[in-house]
């Protein structure tokens, strides 16, 4: 009987431990083999994505619909972001993507503004209508020295 209680306690400990690990992995990390079937990728080309990191959120009207899966450099010095969004989300092909930030030093995120086209993006297609990161330095110099350019 005593042996029995011991084994049960150890079993319970293992379950609690693995649940905690599961929580960390599923809630905080990104488990690709679990989420890949429910998402698809749209590539978006930007002139400048300074400050956008892998894992940054993709939002529509302030609602998180996905995340940035990869940040790469495409041809002609354009930055390509792989936007991983929910499969159920239909993105019209005349939508616009812009880099925004939460507060002045906050994290950067990608905002999608939907267009009105009937046709939607298919997985892997490229979105070119984009608005790049605001360059804080040039913004400040604009305020400080009037219109610099």
């Amino acid at each position: 009987m005593k042996e029995h209680i011991l084994e049960m306690a150890v079993g319970l400990f293992m379950i609690v431990g693995f649940c905690a690990f599961g929580y960390l992995a599923l809630q905080l990390g990104e488990v690709s083999f679990l989420t890949s079937s429910t998402t698809y990728i749209i590539n978006a080309e930007f002139d400048n994505v300074a400050g956008v990191k892998k894992g940054a959120s993709v939002q529509v009207a302030g609602v998180v619909v996905g995340s940035v899966a990869a940040v790469t450099l495409g041809e002609d010095e354009v930055a390509v972001l792989a936007l991983k969004v929910d499969k159920k989300l239909k993105v019209p092909i005349d939508s616009m993507a812009s880099v925004k930030s939460q507060g002045i030093i906050g994290d950067k995120f990608i905002q999608l503004s939907f267009g009105g086209d009937e046709e939607n993006f298919k997985p892997g297609e490229v979105l070119r209508d984009t608005e790049s990161s605001m360059d804080i330095e040039s913004l400040i110099s604009k305020f400080a020295f009037g219109s610099a350019e």
């Binding site: 400990f13 690990f21 960390l24 905080l28 990390g29 892998k54």
Partner: protein
Amino acid sequence: MKSNSIANLGNTGLYVLTDLGRMTLFLFKAFRGIFRQPFRFKELVRQVNFIGVGSLSVIFFTAASTGLVLGLQGYYSLNKFGAEGMLGSAVSLTLIMELGPVLTALMVAGRAGSAMCAELGIMRISEQIDALDCMAVDPFRYLITPKFIAALISVPLLTVIFDVVGIAGGYVAGVSLMDVSPGSYIEGMRSSVTNHDIWLGVIKSFVFALLVVWICTGRGYFVREIRGAGFGAESVSRVTTQAVVLSSISVLVFDYLLTAVLL
């Protein structure tokens, strides 16, 4: 006088060298014990109960208070920049990558490591280990390997439990006591923690578990060979103190090294 001090230095150097070699062979034999038959599954369960289940309460309280303090302290600092929204990310990253693995390892070293060291030390001085040898029972397979495996199972699990409890503590401090919104705490956490961070924490906890169980069982096993330990009961108490101090320091050193290499 001068030549005497040089001789002492050489002596100490030789001692450190043999000690390190002894401990390395010890580690090798402990792992070899996994492949020796029969494997003592019941002893493994007993050890997981001792190291894992037995440490749950101390881990829970340490994690909860660490999380609460991180929440309050983080709120105080971030509030100055109007960046309370970052609280979730700050608390979760600190816990998962640093405090979770380190504090868990230190707690286990203090609670279970010291007990393992004293147990083996007493078994050594009362000739119980010699008795195993004489019965042709491998003391590594019989005594030490189950402790190694139990530590390698328990410590990572305790670490993730520490992480989760700590994050919950941070939530209580930030959201319930202060005025951070629940959504920004949880979203901040989700968007900033990556798989890489979680893996870093897990790898650290495995390395720390190995360090603690290796040093604590090794010191106890070699209680007679350790210089300046003395004899009898006193030697066990001295060696136990040494084992806890040594394993705590090596956890902190390896924490820095692993962060530097893997971050």
